[in-house]
Structure formats: C-alpha cells, structure tokens
Amino acid sequence: MARVILRRFFKHKLAGIAIAVLVFLVFASAFAFTTPYSPTDQEPTNSFQKSNMDHFFGTDELGRDVFTRILYGGRVSLTVGLLSTFLSIALGVLIGALSGYFGGGIDSILMRITDAFLTFPTIFVLIILGAFLREQQVPWLKNSVLIVIIIIAALSWMWPARLVRGLFLVLRERDFVTASRALGGSSSHIIIQHVLPNCIGPIVVSGTLQMASAIITESGLSYLGFGVQPPTPTWGSILATAQNQVFRAPWIAFYPGLMIFITVMAINYIGDGLRDAFDPYVIHIEK
C-alpha cells in the first residue's frame, strides 16, 4: 500500500519537482552561512544596489546583502510556515474528523469550542499575550520561534476543523462507509482508511493558503513586541520594510515575495501529488 502511494505520488511530475524545490530551499537556508556576507553586516554607503555579481539580489537600505538575508530569512520563515501549518492542520483535522464523524454531543462540544476560538478578536488576543509575555522576564520565551509557531497554529486551526467536519458529515453517509461499518470496521479504521483520504484535496488547499499567511503573520507578530525582532531577517519582515522602498528599490520586495510564492506553489503541488496518491479510487484500481 505504501509503495503504491509513493509510486502514485512521484507519478505526479510537478509534485516530484516541488519536493526537490522545497528540499533545496531548506538546505539553502541551513547552509546560509556559506555566503561571503553575514545577514547583519552593513555597508550604508553601498545601499540600494541592484542585482550584480557581488550581490545577487542587490543590497537593502543599510547596504546589507539581500541574497544572504533571504537565505537566513528562510530559516525562520520556512520553520514557521511549515510547522505552524502542520500543527494547525493536524489539530484542525483531528477535531473536524471527530466532530463530523461522531456527530451528536461530541460534535456540539467540539464545534462550540471551535466557534469560541473563531470569535476571538485575533489582534486583541495577541496584544494581551504580548503584554503577558513582556512581563515574564524571559527573553528567549518572548522572542522564540516556537511561541510564534504555537500562536499562529492556535489561532488558525479552526478553519481546517470546520472544513473537515463538513466533509465528514457528507462522507460518513456514503455507501462505502456504511459497507465498511457493516463489515465490522472500527471507527478509527473507517476514519483513517476510508473517509480521510477523500478529504485530502480540500485540506491541502486550505493548508497552502495557511502557509502563506503564516509567513506573513510571523512578521506581523514582531510588530506587537514578540516573535522575531530585527535585525534577524525573515521573509515577512524583509517584505514589510521593503514596502516603503517600493519606488526606489522594488527588487527588495520582489525577492522575499518570490520566495514565499515559490514555497507556496511547492506546497500546493506537493498537495496535488498527495491527493492523487491518496485518491481511494486510484489506489483500488492499481491494487
């Protein structure tokens, strides 16, 4: 079965390429230290250089090498983007699946919790949290990427949860579920083996959207006093500060935007591949 899924996945050529691109981005960020510059080295007399052989992506307003900053920025942005999306989707799918499959009391309780989270005014929750963390005199906690990941996931799992619940409500009434139940399939078997694979498509789409917004949200968090502080680069923060220079140096905004775009596209194609790979109809035909 696993081999079938893997074969199906790599049959989707773009998915294969997307995996390669994502792996490349992760490695490039991990090996960012191999560039001749440091992400914080400044040369103010050499600011706003266009792309050239010394600075592939040009330089920013402080004369820092944009290429190096993009590579280092990938560390935070990819970590936050991938992990917070994964966490949010995992939690969302779990809650959505339980809620949609079992219905009744469980559904009511879980969905009211979801609704409660949806009603939180995000910005105020963040401000209160920021104030709380500020008073804990633990710098690593205040500025840790882990906190950022948890916060973003905690404020975004509700959408996949609602989505998955909706899908489960429809799918659990389908004949193949009834059949599996008649054959004595346990709830966990039915959920994992039969219903979930049919939901992969929409889940992936929602995940892709969340990934992009997580990368941007990360830079927004540092505006509220927690999260990653300057001068540590992230794609979101490079993009945010570049906005004011858009007439003078549009390339500074272009490159982080491009990286976010490439990452999101890669995730999308990987998602496409996953959907094909898990597609129950195809798996059964091939078996």
Binding site: S47, Y223, N244, F247, R248
Partner: protein, 561 residues
C-alpha cells in the same frame, strides 16, 4: 488618417488631464485641494488628543486661537487685535495680569459672534481637571480669575507670572454656545463636528476614508480662504500615497516615505518634496537605575549603565555622520541636545563624537574585557558582577521605518566595540503607556530606549517634567517624565530659573545649561533631528511650511497658480 486621429486624441487627453490635475483650470481662486494623511484623527478637538495627526486637519477648521506661531517661531495675533505685551499694557508690570482684546465683528462658522465669554469658557474647560484634556492645558491652573468687562475684552489674573501666557491661546478657542459642559468635553458632539473660527468648516466626515472641509463664509480675514474646499483623504500605505501624487489625485502629502532625491525624480513636473526643520529629536534614553528590581526610584544604579564610562563609550561608538548621511540620506540634521530648534536653540558640540578606539579604551578602563564571542564581560566593573555580559536591551516602537533603521545601524556600531544591543520593539501604546499600564520606561524596566521627541515654542513644562529630579516616576508620582532617573541638582535649579523668568535670553541660557549637562552626564544621547517633509503639487501656491504648524496651517492663503 487613423493615426492622425489617434494623435489628436492623445494630445486632447493630455491637455484635459493637465487641466484636471488641479482646480479644474481655475487660475487664482477657488478649487479643491486634496491632502493625504496616513491615519484618521479621532477628533478635531486638539485638546482632546495627543496625536500629531489631529492638528494636521484641525488647524484648518476648529483650532484657531487668539494667536498663532508663525514660520519664524514668533507669536502673531489672529483673533486678537494684538499680542498683549508690556509695551501695550496688555501684560501688567508684575506679569500677573494679561488683557486680551478680540478683533471687532468676529463670528464663529455658524454665524454667532465670538466674544470674550468664549475666552472665559476656554479657560474654564482647560483648567477643569475633569475635562479629560490631553494637550494644551499648561498654565491654565495658574489663572485665578477672568473678567470680561465687555464683549471684546478678557482680563486674566495669574497666581504667579507665567512665561507661556501667549502659547496658551495659540491653539484654539472653544465656543460656549456650541459645545457642552467643561467636565464632559470627551463626549462633546463638537469634537467631531466643530463650530470653529478657522478658514474652513467640516462638511462631511466619511469614517476611514476622508474629511471634507468647505470655505467658512464667516472667516475673519477678508476675501480668504481662496480655495473652495479641502479634502483630507486617509491613505495609510506610503507607496499608495505617492502613487496618488503621481496621478495628480492629490496635491499635498504629509510625510512622504521616499527620500527627497527619489521623490523629486519620480514626481518631476508634478510635485516636489519640501524639507523644513522639524521638532522631532531622535535620542537614546539610558535607564540609570537598576531595571527589573521592582523599584522605580533612582536608588540602585543600573549595573551596566550606571557607570558613566559605559555611557560615554556607547556615545563614542555611534557613527553619527554615517547614520545621518548614508542611512537616512541626509533627511535629518545633526542634533546633540533637546534644544535643537526654536528661540531656545543651543548649538553645543558633542563631547563624545564617533571614535571607536576611544569607546574601546573607555570600556577597558571601566572593567569590561572582550569575551570570546566578541561581547565584553565584566571583570572588575563598577556595579556589575564579574562575568556579566555587556548585553543591553534596546527598546523602540514598531512600524516606523527610520527608527528601525537607526536601531539596526546602532546595533552594528555597538557590536564593533563589544557591546551587545538586543532590539525589542513594542507597539506605540506600550512604549508610551502609563505607570499603571506597566509601561517599561515608566516602571524603570528597560536598559535603553530610542524614540523621537519634541516640544513646542514653550518648552518649560516638557523639560521640567523630563529632567527635574522630582519628576522621577514612582507609584506615588506616576505621571513623572524623568524616565532616566536622572538626578542633577544643577539641572534642577536651571529648570526653576528657566520657568520663572520672562526674559528670553535668561531662559535660553538656563536651557543651554541643561543641554550641556545632558552632553556631559549622558542620561541620553541625541542622534539627529528629523526634518518635516511634505510633498506639494507644483501648481499649488501661497503655502508656507512651518516647523510650528501642521500641513494645513495657513490654508487660507493657498491657491492654484
């Protein structure tokens, strides 16, 4: 043939768009000017807010006072016939009685007469502790009685001589008949729909979008304003603002995000960026008392910054020239002390200019030896335990690009001499919050704080609050503004001297003494003075940009070329 028609259309289009750019082709008077502001004012009542944006709009409508401050920083009479001085007996010889005389025939924008009773009412409001006023209340508590012998005359008696007596009435007059109870000022309908004495009247306010002001038919200067209306559009995004100027959709832009050289090149033939000396003075404040010890007083010195040699080293590590010219592209001017503009300007040289070798030497002497990771550690330092890293938090407020650039630049400067500065930016509301809100600077929980500050033509209250040793914020004294916890008896007496004299030179000398003490003692390091920048369409005429005014100050004189 087709091509010819096309050419004709193009030419016609160009001609039409050239006309449409401004006041519909109207040569000298009439027309509408669109002004871009980055955020919406919450009120048009200057006294009810401390946000700079309020005056940008209110100066053209609600906020016309007895006097104004002109572009030279001098007072000029507006609604008053003349400024009360010793020479015209408007100011009594004991400096305690001030007589204001209104011009004859003045009317509010609703047609009702402006009388001395409105002066009385304004004082009643601003001296009322329950009014909720946040700005412009200085000295009103010193007015003990107000006589109005006739409709044009108000005689004010002060409990003690108050040098800022002109400044008090330079911001606006409130109409008794059209406002409300003094204690209820926060809820006045007037705040969002004012009856004023300014050149324009608010005609519509589309929340989040725009404010439209039309000509005030009762404006006191005959024949003015020249324009029919002003439209303030709210556009937060700097690039979108400049795009509006590019498309001639607006004629006046507040604080453009681009440097002048880029702006002028981009908008050539359409608009020009004007730089005028501003009042916003960027400085790093040092906390001289120990942070995070639950004690906001100056009792315990800061383990690192308590040693003046460390502060001197930090001052010597900063490359001011490069910061001003390379990083901020000359959009700022040098500044060494708070008194960097106005009649009290003190041109004092830096004692600790950029000299990295000197900075290293000072730190060596102060018992901070270079560590293995390039950051110094204490070994025989004055207050810090051996092994303490020379690591300091640098706080600032978020979402202001020049501030962040400055922080990032200084972090590198300090790193070069073995000092680690960790940027920690908070929202505006946290940095400038109150003692009760646990704002870090109020409760002494910070190391270094960088922000821009400024004061107006009457500097006494601000500076007394910032530098007098009695103004150190504590639980008993939560509104104090001496966030450095700086205690300097000479400064204390200079502040008292500056506040008790009517002689400009005496006052200036006292302020310069304080400026010099700041340079010597380094409770803060001044970095640069912002210039105010405005983008103005090339076809607009008659405007005067002033350090002391807002974008709409003097809008009654604007017209299209």
């Amino acid at each position: 043939m087709k091509l010819k028609f096309l050419t004709l259309f193009v030419i016609l289009g160009l001609v039409l768009s050239a006309c449409g750019g401004g006041g519909g082709g109207n040569a000298s008077s009439g027309g509408t000017v669109t002004l871009i502001i980055p955020e919406e004012p919450t009120t048009l009542n200057y006294f009810m807010s401390d946000a700079a944006i309020v005056r940008q709009v209110a100066d053209a409508t609600s906020m016309t006072g007895l006097a104004t401050i002109n572009e030279k920083g001098e007072y000029a009479a507006t609604l008053a016939q003349e400024l009360p001085t010793l020479d015209n007996s408007g100011l009594s010889s004991d400096f305690k009685t001030v007589t204001w005389k209104l011009r004859e025939g003045l009317k509010w924008s609703d047609g009702k007469p402006i009388t001395s009773d409105d002066i009385k009412f304004t004082i009643e409001v601003l001296s009322n502790p329950d009014s909720g006023a946040l700005s412009g209340t200085s000295g009103f508590d010193l007015i003990s009685s107000i006589e109005t012998p006739n409709d044009l005359t108000a005689v004010l008696t002060y409990t003690e001589p108050y040098p800022g007596y002109l400044n008090q009435f330079a911001y606006g007059l409130l109409p008794r008949h059209a406002s409300g109870e003094p204690a209820d000022m926060a809820n006045w309908e007037w705040n969002r729909n004012p009856v004023g004495a300014g050149p324009f009247v608010l005609s519509s306010w589309a929340s989040g979008e725009s404010l439209t002001l039309t000509r005030n038919p009762n404006y006191y200067e005959a024949g003015k304003p020249y324009l029919d209306s002003l439209v303030f559009v709210i556009v937060p995004e700097p690039a979108a603002q400049t795009a509006m100027m590019l498309n001639s959709e607006a004629q006046f832009q507040l604080w453009p995000g681009e440097f002048k050289v880029d702006y002028d090149a981009l908008l050539k033939g359409k608009a020009t960026q004007h730089l005028i000396p501003g009042i916003w003075n960027m400085a790093i404040d040092f906390n001289l008392s120990a942070p995070f010890d639950g004690d906001p007083t100056a009792a315990t010195p800061h383990p690192i910054l308590g040693d003046i040699r460390v502060r001197q080293a930090i001052a010597s590590a900063i490359n001011y020239q490069s910061l001003q010219q390379d990083v901020l592209k000359g959009s700022v001017s040098d500044s060494t002390n708070p008194f960097a503009y106005g009649w009290y300007q003190c041109d004092l040289p830096r004692k600790f200019g950029f000299d990295a070798a000197k900075a290293n030497q000072l730190l060596d002497e102060a018992g901070w030896v270079m560590g293995t990771d390039g950051i110094r550690v204490a070994k025989g330092a004055l207050y810090a335990k051996d092994g303490t890293r020379l690591s300091l938090e640098l706080q600032g407020y978020t979402a202001f690009d020049p501030l962040q650039l400055t922080e990032e630049f200084i972090v590198e400067n300090l790193k070069a001499v073995g000092v680690e500065a960790r940027i920690q930016n908070y929202d505006f509301s946290i940095i400038f919050g109150t003692f009760e809100d646990n704002s870090p600077r109020a409760i002494s929980d910070y190391d270094m704080l960088i922000f821009d500050r400024g004061f107006t033509t009457e500097p006494q209250d601000y500076n007394f609050d910032a530098y007098h040793s009695s103004r150190i914020p504590t639980a008993e004294n939560p509104t104090g503004g001496n966030y450095f916890r700086w205690v300097n008896p000479q400064v204390d007496s200079a502040l008292v001297a500056a506040g008790s004299s009517f002689d400009t030179q005496t006052r200036k000398d006292a302020y310069c003494k304080i400026g010099q003490a700041i340079i010597d003692d380094l409770p803060q390091v001044y970095l640069y003075l912002f210039q105010d920048n405005y983008g103005v369409a090339d076809n607009l005429d008659g405007y005067v940009l002033s350090t002391w005014g807002s974008m709409s100050w003097g809008a009654q004189n604007w017209k299209y070329k």
